[in-house]
């Protein structure tokens, strides 16, 4: 058994490692070697702690906004797929607006636009929210959450609409209450349908997180900008930044493919 799998692995490796690939990998290694030895990396010891904080902050924003955004996307999708029109129309309008304008503009609208309105009202300044509203990160979280909800809401609409009618009718015939039908039948099947796109949406969301650096949230992108300003280096911080994002993307894709593999394949 283990011998057979070992042979299988070796066969797959030899299929993948064709001669031209070995040459390409050597060229890539040579490039990495040049990058390590001929570019300047002496700033790393000074900034790596800040960089780790930045990565942590980017991941934290990613996780929170994806979770909140998905929680918001479910009602948005449900309203559009099966809701009465006074739910469906606002949900549709919300998704259209979010998907029709750049995230950077939404972010700046919230941070600079709303942020300039709030201080004019004394009751806001005296409320418990004020310490939060003065900081940048709540605006970043809200903008990224709305963005994720807008795009994923459209996906969830399709997913909810794609669940076969017979499933819902069968559930109703069993006397399930509407909430139970939603919880046990409709939502799980819609979620399975939406899962492949969820991977892509999460990666897109990761790629949107550097925008929060423009409203002074110190994520990994902001750290790299600081390094560039402090050291006058152009390429080194950016190349490292690209590598970090590629690594995070790879890990995300790996995690999601694990989750997808656990889900029953043939649906509907």
């Amino acid at each position: 058994m283990s011998e057979a799998t070992a042979i299988n692995v070796a066969a797959r490796a030899s299929l993948w490692l064709q001669p031209h690939r070995i040459v390409l990998i050597l060229i890539a290694l040579a490039l990495v070697f040049c990058a390590v030895f001929f570019l300047r990396w002496d700033w790393l010891p000074q900034y790596w702690q800040m960089g780790l904080m930045g990565i942590w902050r980017a991941l934290w924003i990613l996780a929170v906004t994806c979770a909140l955004g998905f929680a918001l996307a479910v009602p948005l999708g449900l309203a559009q797929a099966g809701g009465p029109f006074w739910f469906a129309v606002p949900a549709k309008v919300f998704c259209t607006i979010i998907r029709g304008t750049p995230l950077l503009l939404q972010l700046w609208l919230l941070y600079y636009g709303l942020g300039s309105i709030f201080p004019q009202y004394p009751w806001i300044r005296e409320s418990w929210m004020w310490p939060y509203l003065r900081q940048a990160w709540p605006y970043a979280v809200v903008a990224l959450t709305f963005s994720f909800a807008g795009y994923e809401g459209e996906v969830m609409r399709g997913a909810f609409a794609g669940v076969p009618k017979g499933q819902l009718e069968a559930a109703r015939a069993f006397g399930m209450s509407r909430w139970k039908i939603f919880r046990r039948i409709w939502l799980p099947q819609a979620f399975y349908r939406a899962l492949p796109t969820l991977t892509g949406e999460t990666v897109l969301q990761l790629k949107s997180t550097p925008l929060v650096a423009t409203i002074s949230v110190i994520d990994i992108f902001a750290v790299s900008s600081k390094v560039r300003q402090d050291t006058y280096l152009t390429y080194e911080p950016l190349l490292l930044l690209a590598l970090i994002y590629m690594t995070i993307t790879g890990i995300l894709v790996l995690i999601f493919s694990r989750i997808e593999a656990r889900i029953p394949v043939k649906i509907g």
């Binding site: 259209t96 750049p102 503009l105 609208l109 990666v203 992108f221 390429y235």
Partner: protein, 230 residues
């Protein structure tokens, strides 16, 4: 609302649209070449294209824009210096089109590759059997046959391109979002200007959607409707 800034926003919108159109066309060129390279190219071409599409799609656009912007202008200036010319300032428009087009190219490569794979294989084989040269086959068979499969994806890319132009504001290119920021910063009427810019972007998107559905219907002419095909 202070008078005079509306025109600034419109100029910004014009610049945004110029970049979006240029980047989409450049992306289409790269994408078509890339798709053909991925499908019919040699092993080295395929692997290099796989690296290109994977890397571009895994790194945030903002980072790519910065990298390509600096690397591109540096490279051109070094080439010019090596050839004995003096340094030039690359126009923001050209740099923006190049950078966004490079990013768009990776996405359109995948879209067009998928569309070509969706063509019934017999059509291409028939064309080959009639002895059509590759250029003629591309023009008469492959491109018309793949359009219905490619247009939804490419339309999506166009919408992404219009919105990605906003990222060039971070590099300091004067387009709608940066124009808005300047107008808002000077007049202190932040909310109004950002809302106005949002309306402009939304108008572009909605108008594009109308055109896109027309083009889609045109490219699907003679085919069974989507509902019947299911």
């Amino acid at each position: 609302m202070a008078p005079g800034w509306g025109g600034t926003l419109l100029v910004g919108l014009l610049h945004s649209l110029e970049i979006a159109i240029g980047a989409t066309f450049l992306g289409l060129l790269i994408g078509t070449a890339g798709a053909f390279g991925k499908l019919y190219g040699g092993p080295v071409t395929r692997d290099l294209l796989a690296v290109y599409t994977t890397v571009v799609r895994a790194v945030p656009e903002l980072v790519l824009i910065l990298l390509l912007y600096y690397a591109g202008t540096d490279l051109i200036n070094q080439v010019l210096a090596a050839m004995g010319y003096s340094r030039v300032d690359i126009s923001g428009l050209a740099a923006g089109i190049f950078v966004l087009g490079f990013v768009q190219g990776a996405y359109s490569t995948e879209v067009i590759r998928g569309a070509i794979l969706a063509i019934p294989q017999g059509q291409i084989e028939a064309a080959r059997a009639y002895g059509m040269p590759p250029g003629l086959m591309l023009r008469r068979i492959t491109i018309p046959a793949m359009l219905p499969f490619a247009i939804p994806g490419l339309a999506n890319l166009w919408l992404i391109a219009t919105k990605d132009t906003a990222l060039l504001a971070v590099v300091g290119f004067f387009e709608l979002t940066l124009a808005t920021r300047q107008a808002a910063g000077v007049t202190k009427a932040y909310l109004i200007f950002y809302l106005a810019a949002g309306v402009l972007y939304l108008a572009v998107t909605l108008f594009s959607n109308v055109i896109i559905s027309r083009v889609e219907a045109w490219s699907r002419r003679g085919m069974p409707s989507v509902k019947e095909a299911r």
